[in-house]
Symmetry: C2
Subunit: 251 residues, 2 copies
DNA sequence: CGGGTAATTGACCCGGGTCAACAGCAGTGG
DNA sequence: CCACTGCTGTTGACCCGGGTCAATTACCCG
């Protein structure tokens, strides 16, 4: 498998947005290893109504934000893949307005806000990276609103898969044209605002057209251009190839 | 009407989240007045693809973020009412991944990021307020994803109207059980992922049931509890009554 | 081998979309 | 003052994408 993914991926992730020194990398790794928490698959990491615990870095596994309506309808709000950072500032608010759950078994580093603040104060580039990461997270949230609000089932699923593939690729978690894919069809349904039955049928369409292969926990996209075309995928909102400027002084 | 609303509402808005000194209020007002920009109704304030200009404070009128698909489908992503702040950090990214458009004629204060950074550095409570505001903005974005992803037309529209009313009320822009409402049914459709025709029909249902009155540019909610019940509205995500570090002086 | 989760299929239905016509009203210019 | 224009709201007829319900069929794992 991918050895880089087995290390602490935060540095890797930040380096999608900024450039780190060796010292910064070491510092981050130490911090992340100090406060490891393991959560089994399908268990909540934090629940709506609870006071926010701390910032977190997802080291291994996949997780998601979600929200549930009183009658049980459920919407996935965001997907976390290894390296994703979350809730750097969440502890400013007094309670969570949504939950975060593990999809697979998961290892998270939970870092207190103070600790993170200090790191950011001492290393402007880290602050820059985290800030950028937060902005991208919001941009993704907006794209999801667009996705469920305007696109057809076929487009939604294509778009969702495109995004995942691009994000995984950006942190080195793809292998050519394929990648791990631990989501069930029910998960895809929750993320796209569809039902599992319809996701199943739509996936069959996509398979039949040769746009993708999806079996077990493996996703393969033989023709990424075709998949992108199916939903007019425009990766600009992921802000993956931004110009970098040396942040001098304070953010 | 509400005289405070006619002044510069940023201070007011921030005071929904933190407590400001008189000096801070004055400072903010001066800053906001310095760089006024007026945009006529239905014109863009900034467009997807452009480099982010600066942070902005909406002083008068309503505006929205939106995104358009190649074939013209359009999704409203966020609604701005007077006092709303936006894009405090957006200039970190190199280009806008969505547009912002004026709904009514609008007055915005455009503030450079540097200026805002300095203000925040000198006044921690302002930073606190802005940070909190940003977190709430993201929370609202998540709620919109849930709204278009899981709720029925009837619930979506009720929820949308509830949110607007709560937000307006929080900045003193309601008058008893009614408020200004400059959105067209087409706007509501864009925001809720429905068509204007269906919005029309659903609004008629709501009117028939006596849950709301909506004519001209005026919204009236005779029975807010009923409207909230229609969509199980839970305002927690607006984080309006958070604990504050200091007790506030008045109001 | 048994139990549980995930994927698949079929039959049927409905919420909301589409298309098209029309009404109400504000603004604008003559 | 009215005719013209354009936007917004309203209505009707019809249709379809995707939901619902329920039964099977793989799998996976101990």
């Amino acid at each position: 498998m991918n050895t880089r993914a087995l290390g602490v991926p935060l540095a890797l992730r930040l380096e999608a947005y900024t450039t780190l020194s060796e010292e910064e990398r070491v510092r981050i790794n130490r911090m992340a290893r100090r406060s490891l928490r393991e959560v089994p698959a399908r268990r909540d990491i934090i629940r709506e109504g609870e006071p926010p615990r701390s910032a977190f870095i997802l080291l291994e596994g996949w997780a998601c934000r979600y929200k549930t309506l009183p009658d049980g309808r459920r919407q996935m709000l965001a997907l976390f893949i290894p390296g994703d950072v979350g809730d750097v500032h969440a502890s400013i608010l007094s309670q969570m307005d949504h939950s975060i759950g593990a999809i697979t078994a998961v290892k998270v580093a939970e870092v207190s806000r103070e600790e993170l603040e200090q790191l950011m104060a001492e290393h402007p580039r880290v602050r820059q990276g985290l800030l950028r990461d937060e902005l991208v997270t919001v941009a993704v949230q907006r794209e999801w609103t667009l996705n469920v609000g305007q696109r057809t089932a076929y487009e939604r699923i294509s778009h969702f898969l495109c995004e995942i593939f691009f994000r995984l690729r950006a942190v080195g978690l793809t292998d050519g044209h394929s990648c791990d894919f631990p989501l069930t069809q029910g998960d895809i349904a929750d993320a796209t605002g569809l039902t599992a039955v319809h996701v199943n049928r739509t996936l069959q369409d996509l398979r039949r057209e040769g746009v993708l292969e999806l079996q077990g926990r493996k996703l393969s996209i033989p023709n990424l251009d075709a998949l992108m075309g199916a939903c007019s995928f425009n990766p600009n909102y992921l802000h993956l190839c931004e110009d970098r400027e040396e942040p001098d002084g304070n953010d």
